[in-house]
């Protein structure tokens, strides 16, 4: 499993750079969120860091569910031709 991921990612030095850059950008944006006065029609939109947490969770949740979905729905490429 770990192997596959690194192969897909292609080139770990570049990837590490992207990862840390991304992390820094995330922290900056989150910090700005603390400083900024939030307004919104939806009650939970006003929580600090809502979009951050939601985005992060969404990313993970989709992957988890997708694994299950693949096991449930995945068939061979010529399934309908047999």
């Amino acid at each position: 499993m770990r192997d596959e991921g690194e192969r897909v990612l292609g080139g770990s030095k570049k990837v590490r750079w992207v990862f840390w850059g991304l992390l820094v950008a995330c922290l900056v944006v989150l910090a700005l969120d603390f400083l900024h006065e939030k307004r919104g029609y939806v009650p939970w939109e006003r929580w600090v860091g809502f979009q951050s947490g939601f985005g992060f969770l969404a990313g993970l949740v989709v992957i988890l569910l997708a694994h299950g979905l693949r096991r449930l729905l995945g068939r061979s490429g010529d399934y309908y031709e047999r």
Partner: protein, 534 residues
Amino acid sequence: MVVLPVLGLLQLMALPAGASLGLEAVGLTLEVVRVDGLSLLFGYVFHLAALLGVIFSLRVRDLGQQVAALVYAGSAIGAVFAGDLLSLFLYWELTAVSSVFLIWAAREEGAFRAGLRYLVVQILSGMLLLLGLVLHYQATGSLAFGHLGLESPGGTLIFLAFGIKCAFPLLHTWLPDAYPRATVTGAVFLSAFTTKLAVYALARGFAGTEVLIWIGALMAVLPVFYAVIEDDLRRVLSYSLIIQLGFMVVGVGVGTELALNGTAAHAFGHVLYKALLFMAMGAVLQQTGTARASELGGLYRSMPLTAWFCVVGAASISAVPLFSGFVSKAFITSATAQAGHHLAWTMLLFASAGALLYVGIKVPYLAFFGRDSGVRVAEAPRSMLVAMGLSAVLSVLIGVRPQLLQLILPFPATYDPYTLGHILGQLQLLLFSALAFVIVLRRGWYPRMVPSTNLDFDWIWRGGLPRTWLSLVRLAAPGWRRSGSALGTISRRALNLLQRHFGPRSRLAGTWPTGSMVLWVVVLLALSLLVSYF
């Protein structure tokens, strides 16, 4: 071929708002052309899509395909300007019949069957529309295509007809089935017209229908999961089309002026960047022979321009600030929030994150960047690059200067998405979900891309029912063959009799001399004369 959409566009711009062309035919009053803000916007973007598609397919030598594409574009344009249901119906069917050729032109067994399935579904949609409009006419005496609503006579049927073409959940399977099997250039045209026509029709006939909010929310969320596990990148794009349609449908459901403006703006932008994405993947398909993630990777070395255009398209669909998707999605989501639909708003937010990761990042990354598959090909031909470039420029233009789009939006309601709060919120969403994605990739949690078929709702009639039928037949067959029973013998004798008289080698199937045909016609006429006399 390039001239046609340009001329059409010029003519369109010369049309005054409120113009109308009436026609009296078969005792009905038809309004064949009705020009207003909503139809003009769709008219403009359809012309643009036709122009971009034509430039993209400039080198295609298949005349049938080119003709089909133009007829398809033209009938979609005709449909958005139709002022009455019957004209709409005629153009509606014409879009179905012309677009199927873009699938069949791929000339493969799978494409042939997918085209047939596609045609059946589209014609079904047309039949429902016809039934609905007949009921409507009988009850109200008018064929005018205005706001209908579910409660109006024939309303539900028409709603379903629109819903099929708009890929409502459970009615959607034709889209990911047929679009990836279309030709390289055909898919670009397909992505633009049918579905946006359906969105226009919903906006015209069912604005404010609350069930649409939920339908749209489901449409936005469910395909995300399919997009994750799908290997064929053009099918990923098809599922992402449904996601974006979901946003538009929610906008129609909310029904406020801001929401409808959002739907219109989103449709406009979406036609452009979806065409761009299909163009990029089409170019990849043409140059490398495949569009499967499992077989691609590292293409930016060979196709750098295509890669960057694809990135622009991906950024637009992910609603990155400065690209068109950011503006139009903001309209819809804020209108949804303002109208108090908090749950739907949250679902749309989820869909935004999902669309970013499993379309916006996945498609360009797995095709062009990421692991190097070793595939080295030539860059796409210039005509394709020009088309992609134009689409990319337009997408960015709308993103940085949304006021331009505001000029053609049907209503004056507006929303400025470039506020610190909104930009910050969107950046948080995008960056943190991207972070999650990178973590998932590094830890190897991402589902492997392998060629596979992922079962969708159409398994019922493509898999379940046929297999059940075949098993039943197989169970019954030995018994049937072996039966000395009267039923068996009688049916076998009957079949032989029919075969002898009506089968391929029978007298009735053979050619008959004209003289004897004339004789029989005279005999029949004489008989009918006698019968009617008595």
